[in-house]
């Protein structure tokens, strides 16, 4: 008894030891680390496919890869990045790690289900990788029918099954988060004292549990049509190909919010902490997350403006799409206002916030171009769209993820990374990203369609720029992996609260003990009470 208690007083990283203790862990923090390692591997795999795409597109002729191989490469890039990296990225790593701590709980409501979700993710990923080695899949990550269901002769069924399985891991995570938030908040932790990161996770979880089942069933129907010729999507046997697009985007548009909402939550935390100031308009930021999650479910038809959907349906989808711009603008202005009269430290998390703000602004604003129907006709299915969603999902989502990783790394690992390296990487990623994707807006308006293996020569200039930018971007990302791993080995020990931030996670040691808190915390103040915040335990450079 006393023995067990002392084990739980130790760092979660230290006790118990051994691989089995990790693979069978029920500790949300260890599961977060398992996820972090898995998604990093998939980010590297997806990134390798991206590198192949950019290498091919340096010249207008499709001379490096065959058409079939190229089509498989961009499909796998999309499938892996979206389902195996972006969707789990923040929720399953930072969310898993922080959510219980931020609300003063020992763990999530269902620790075993949490572990199960990781195993499901791994199984789904393995099945998808099996499709890769079994000849690949060439439908695009969107699996549009009837190409996917009746025409493609690649491993569509296996890949669809992989996506189907993985879907359950995010359903379970979302479900676990929601129950935890309702049932396990510490005494005094009222809804309006929750950190905004938690609000964002709540909104994200709603999308996960409401949307994911739809896409899971949809890809399963594609597999069923391939195997049994059911006549769901293929008009030759009585199906409707556009039905697939409705079902698919019903999930996949909200999925964008699974990727961006958590990043917005991270930024809310970071802006307040790095400015050491109360967040501006707490309730507006919190409710805008919910508004985005809810309105986000009603806009899927903006992907179908040229699909032969009724023009009146199109009108409704267009006006609702335009409305999503409003809560996003509200957030951006509130973050900016938080910095006003703040005490802003120029440490590496701040650099990631700048990067996020810049890229998310461009990503969000270019969404307006695509929501305006008459303009979308010209822009849809071109590189303009490719640039737009990379700005949102990678510019916004991944910048937010990396910002959060830099902010909470000391807490998660107990080690400090090199500050200068952190700043240089943030700048490399920011400039590399812009160099890669900004030219795609221009070449998109010029008319270059997406998923083109070869293209007319007048588009070459912009493609060369893009590929050059991708090299910078690749260097930036690789650098991060190197200095973060180096910090684990050689980095100085992290203090409990290096940034002088508020929030329960900063009141416990770095890294936390297995049970997070040695005694039940009682919350008495609002979130971001920086007027009474402790001083950072490390000098500001």
């Amino acid at each position: 008894m006393s023995n067990e208690a002392s084990v739980h007083e130790q760092s979660y990283l230290g006790a118990p030891h051994g691989l089995a203790s990790w693979l069978l862990t029920k500790d949300h923090k260890r599961i977060a680390i398992l996820y972090l390692i898995s998604i990093t591997i998939f980010f590297a795999v997806g990134g390798t496919f991206a590198a192949m795409i950019r290498a091919e597109l340096v010249t207008p002729q499709g001379d490096l890869l065959s058409s079939d191989l190229y089509n498989k490469v961009f499909t796998l890039h999309g499938v892996i990045m979206i389902f195996f990296f972006l969707i789990p990225s923040i929720p399953a790593t930072l969310g898993n790690f922080l959510l219980p701590i931020m609300i003063g709980a020992k763990d999530l409501a269902f620790p075993r289900i949490n572990l199960l979700s990781w195993y499901i993710y791994v199984i789904g990923a393995t099945v998808t990788l099996a499709a890769v080695f079994n000849g690949g899949v060439d439908t695009g990550w969107t699996f549009y029918t009837p190409y996917s269901s009746m025409s493609s002769n690649t491993s569509v069924t296996t890949a669809a099954l992989g996506v189907f399985i993985t879907g359950f891991s995010s359903i379970l995570t979302g479900f676990n988060f929601i129950v935890t938030l309702h049932r396990m908040r510490a005494p005094g932790m009222t809804w309006f004292r929750l950190p905004l990161f938690v609000w964002a996770q709540y909104a994200t979880s709603l999308v996960m549990i409401l949307g994911t089942p739809v896409v899971a069933i949809t890809v399963l129907l594609v597999a069923a049509e391939r195997a049994l010729h059911l006549g769901i999507f293929d008009p030759k046997i009585g199906g409707d190909p556009v039905l697939f697009q409705h079902l698919f985007w019903f999930y996949s548009h909200p999925a964008v919010y699974i990727m961006i909402l958590p990043a917005m939550g991270v930024v809310s935390e970071l802006v307040a902490a790095m400015s050491r100031k109360q967040i501006f308009g707490y309730s507006f930021v919190a409710f805008s997350s919910l508004a985005i999650a809810i309105i986000g479910f009603l806009v899927w038809g903006h992907h179908l403006f040229v699909s032969s959907q009724s023009i009146y349906a199109g009108l409704v989808f267009s006006i609702i799409t335009m409305m999503v711009a409003v809560p996003s603008a509200v957030k951006t202005f509130n973050w900016t206002a938080t910095m006003y009269k703040g005490a802003i430290s120029w440490e590496s998390p701040t650099f990631w916030i700048f990067g996020f703000m810049g890229l998310f602004l461009v990503g969000g604003l270019t969404g307006l171009f695509l929501g305006a129907m008459g303009l979308d006709i010209h822009l849809t299915d071109t590189y303009f769209v490719v640039a737009h969603f990379h700005y949102i999902m990678v510019g916004g989502g991944v910048m937010g993820f990396l910002g959060g990783l830099h902010f909470w790394w000391p807490k998660m690992t107990g080690k400090m990374y090199n500050e200068t390296a952190g700043k240089i990487a943030a700048m490399l990623v920011f400039f590399g990203f812009n160099a890669t994707f900004f030219p795609q807006f221009i070449v998109g308006y010029m008319g270059m369609p997406r998923r083109y293996h070869a293209y007319p020569p007048e588009f070459q200039f912009f493609n060369v720029l893009s590929s050059a930018g991708a090299v910078l971007l690749g260097i930036g990302y690789t650098m991060i992996v190197i200095y973060l791993i180096y910090s684990l080995i050689k980095g100085p020990k992290a203090p409990a609260n290096p940034w002088g931030a508020t929030g329960l996670e900063w009141k416990i040691p770095s890294p936390p003990i297995t049970h997070n808190f040695s005694e039940m915390p009682v919350v008495t103040e609002e979130a971001y009470d920086y007027q009474h915040a402790p001083a950072p335990q490390r000098g500001v450079k």
Partner: protein
């Protein structure tokens, strides 16, 4: 390709400038907000840079009037963009009544085009300038998308139905046609050229083309070859209804529904006759799915559209 800015597509149709104006409007608004927020962030970061690690920011919690301001302004601007975008979209989806009809069939991986006079082309489309052209499009296999960047028009070509799009070219020249919906191996090879010509050049080109019978003539031939004519007779003695005047009319079905007979209705009546059965008739029409190609279908429809309503039958002489 006609010469323009190296980073902007040629603008060669009546709607192109409408689309471009909308583009520049949204671009202007976006640039304003992007610059505004970036400058504020940088100015604050410099002006309020922390001196001592333990410094804290001012005790500000928010401001309702600011929240209303930055909810209201984006909302109004977004609605302006919506209305403007919808307006352009409506123009793009309503072909003028006097449009010239051209038929397009997409298949992996080529575009087949047929002019009303019967001239056919592959991966090419010749059109006269200053005259609205309406494309009626079908697909033989998967979804494709007919995209002409210089005209700012694009429309999916969907198997199992017909879709339409229209444009009026304004500048003679050659412009790209791209397939914009991913359709398999040679998707990026499913490209072609639109040649917009002075009307007299277009007439000359048509005359020199190898016409293989006009679409209507081909349709008429198919109508008898496929023995449609045995059931659909002008004197209404066949087992099916006479088809003259059906196009554009409102048809009452045997379940009481009323539908407007557009091209998609005609298409469905031929490919899947059981799905909508005309009131007063038995569902005996065979399906022609798999027997007529997408191209033949377009010809049949072109022919059916030309049929005239039957003369009112003379009063029966029987007593």
């Amino acid at each position: 390709m006609s010469s323009t800015l190296p980073f902007f597509p040629p603008s060669a149709s009546t709607v192109a400038s409408d689309v471009d104006y909308l583009y520049f409007f949204i671009l202007g608004v976006s640039a304003f907000f992007a610059v505004l927020v970036s400058v504020l962030v940088l100015v604050f970061a410099i002006k309020y840079r922390r001196n001592k690690p333990e410094d804290i920011g001012a005790d500000i919690h928010g401001s309702l009037s600011l929240e209303l301001l930055w909810t209201g302004i984006p909302f109004i601007l977004a609605m302006v963009m919506f209305v403007w975008g919808a307006q352009v979209f409506f123009t793009l989806s309503k072909p003028p009544a006097d449009s010239m009809d051209v038929f397009v069939v997409g298949k992996q991986w080529m575009w087949k085009v047929q002019h009303p006079e019967g001239v056919r082309e592959i991966n090419e489309l010749h059109v006269p300038i200053n005259r609205p052209v309406r494309l009626t499009m079908g697909s033989e296999d998967v979804i494709h998308d007919f995209f002409i960047p210089a005209f700012r028009v694009k429309m999916d070509v969907v198997p199992g139905k017909l879709t339409t799009m229209w444009f009026t070219a304004t500048k003679a020249g050659e412009y790209h046609i791209f397939c914009a919906e991913y359709c398999g191996t040679k998707h990026s090879g499913m490209i072609g050229t639109v040649t917009a010509m002075e009307p007299q050049d277009y007439e000359a080109w048509l005359a020199g083309g190898r016409a293989t019978g006009s679409a209507v003539q081909n349709g008429e031939r198919l109508f008898s070859d496929l023995s449609c004519v045995t059931c659909h007779k002008a004197d209404s003695t066949g087992r099916g209804p006479w088809l003259g005047g059906v196009f554009g009319s409102t048809v009452t079905l045997n379940d009481g529904r009323k539908v407007v007979a557009d091209e998609n209705y005609l298409r469905e009546s031929i490919m899947n006759p059981q799905s909508k059965v005309v009131q007063g008739f038995q569902p005996i029409m065979p399906t022609f799915q798999g027997m007529v190609s997408e191209e033949n279908l377009l010809q049949l429809i072109a022919y059916v559209k030309t049929l005239k309503p039957a003369e009112p039958a003379p009063a029966p002489a029987k007593k």
